[in-house]
Every structure is written in C-alpha cells, then in structure tokens.
Amino acid sequence: MPRVVVDVMPKPEILDPQGKAVLGALPRLGFTGVTDVRQGKRFELEVHEVTDDVLAEVEKMAETFLANTVIENFTVRVEEK
C-alpha cells in the first residue's frame, strides 16, 4: 500500500524549546559540531492509492489538522517503497 508522508516543522521564526533542549543535551553526551536543532513531527499515512484527489485530501488534512499553520509549516510527499 502506498504511503504519503506529511512532515510538520515549527516555522523558522518560532522559538522551538524542544529543539533547544535536544541541542543542549548533545554536548553533554559527547556529540559536538551541531549548531542548531529543530524538532518536528512526521506523519505516515497509508492510503489505497495515490491520486491527485488523495493528495489534495492529504493537503487539506495537513492544513486543517495535522499542522497548525499559525506556528508550523508542512510538506506532503509520496514515499516510494
């Protein structure tokens, strides 16, 4: 069954406290060289088939529900298996 992936990320101008917490933990664990971390969400949607209609539906889903477009951006893509 094909899969559509929706990635949701906090907008660049929005403070991301979770990403900052991860960034702060990295050097404590001995990982160096990372200058910034942003944390987002990934949704994997299994669908019967990928059509323009299905993708439009997913787009609508992401816009109204999966992401809050006041604070987050999202991308929709089909994952090849």
């Binding site: 101008e13 929005i14 406290p17 006041v70």
Partner: protein, 222 residues
C-alpha cells in the same frame, strides 16, 4: 445565568470552574465533549486540563469534538465563551482567537501565584474589573507561551484586545507579556492563568479571580 462548563476526556478543572460559576452567582451546567448540545446555556467555559492527552497539539483534537462545533457556531453569534489554560489553547486552535500557545520558553512547567493587570474591562468576562486593576491568581502551565506574528500583536494592542498582561514576572515567555486576549466582538476570551482557583479565601491565592465569574451577571443587570 446558566453557564455551561465543558468536560473533555482529560479535562482537569471542570469541577473547580463549575464551583466558581456557582460562587459567582450563576448556575453551572455540565456539557459533554461528545454531545452536539449546549443545553440552551447563556455562556460557555472551556476549563483547563489536558484534553485528549494534549496529543498532536494542545487543543488540536478537542477543537473538532462535537460540542466545539456548537460552541464555534454559537460564539460567532455572540455567545460569551471563556477558555482557561487548555481552554485558551482550544480557542486558538479553533481560530476563535488569534495566535497560538507553545511550550514555555524556559521549558519547565510553571506553577505560581501570578500578578496580572486587567487591560480590557469591557469584555463579557472582565466587566467586573476596573481597567488597569491588578489581580493575583494561580498560574500553572507547560505550554503557555502566547505567540503571534508582529502584525497580529500590533492589531491586538491597537484594538484593545489584550485582556490581561503578566506583571512583575513573565512566567512563560509570552510575547508582550500577554496572558489573555479577546476576539473582535469581546464575547470570546482566552486566559492562561486560572481565576477559577481564586474564588474563596479558604484556598488559593485569594478571591481576585471571582470577577471573571460575576461579570456576566453584572453586565446583564447593568
């Protein structure tokens, strides 16, 4: 007046809110998230808590519950709606109020008696206060940082839609110290601190929160 208090799965402060409603001289009516029914109430309170476990985003799932369909429609027609804490988050997710609430800037849960300044005493829920009056009520949140883009913030300030502002300490990084906002009509108010926990001398930080529960009656008989 009959004021509905909505219970979602994960709601925490519905009992306290209903009690505050009664102490404020109103009748409290329990509303259930799964019902398409406001039971003919004169106003609605969305109380604090962790509705739907805060899954996805705080308030994101509650916003699509059957009762919220009714609340959103009725709010558009002028029904007074007060969202406290998680209720504020639900109102933002519903787009009844602008902006959003994200994790506190310092990343820790905060629980304290918080001083606020009432910036707008003309809303359905704040008319019992004086403009500029300072009150102290409990505040408890992990995701209470109010944010919006600069244009929205300027508009809110310009239209007098900042209802309450944090004084002395900004406990969660909210932009421009905003603790509560209202919609254009002034019937929908969202507030991060908890006035329902400050309505009796016996518990809490005093009785400064009572005004949020007496305003409707005062307005009705004014």
């Amino acid at each position: 007046m009959r004021i509905g208090v909505v219970t979602f799965p994960g709601t925490l402060d519905d009992i306290d809110a209903a009690r505050a409603v009664r102490i404020g001289g109103n009748e409290a009516v329990s509303l259930w998230h799964g019902d398409h029914d406001l039971k003919g109430v004169d106003a609605v309170i969305l109380p604090g808590g962790f509705s739907y476990g805060d899954y996805l985003r705080c308030g994101a799932i509650s916003r699509f519950s059957p009762v919220m369909t009714e609340v959103i429609e009725a709010a558009g027609k002028g029904l007074p709606v007060l969202g406290i804490c998680n209720g504020f988050q639900i109102l933002c997710e519903s787009h009844l109020l602008p902006g959003a609430l994200i994790r506190n800037d310092h990343r820790k849960f905060v629980c304290r008696d918080q001083r606020l300044r009432i910036e707008n005493a003309d809303t359905a829920w704040t008319s019992a206060f004086e403009q500029g009056q300072e009150i102290v009520v409990p505040l408890k949140n992990g995701e209470g940082q109010f944010i919006a883009d600069e244009e929205t913030l300027d508009r809110l300030e310009g239209e007098g839609r900042v209802v309450a502002r944090y004084v002395e300490v900004n406990p969660n990084g909210s932009l421009r110290d905003i603790a509560g906002v209202t919609n254009q009509a002034g019937n929908v108010v969202g507030l991060m601190p908890h006035p329902e926990h400050a309505v009796e001398e016996l518990t809490g930080s005093g009785t400064d929160g009572l005004g949020f529960f007496t305003s409707l009656v005062e307005k009705a008989f004014a």
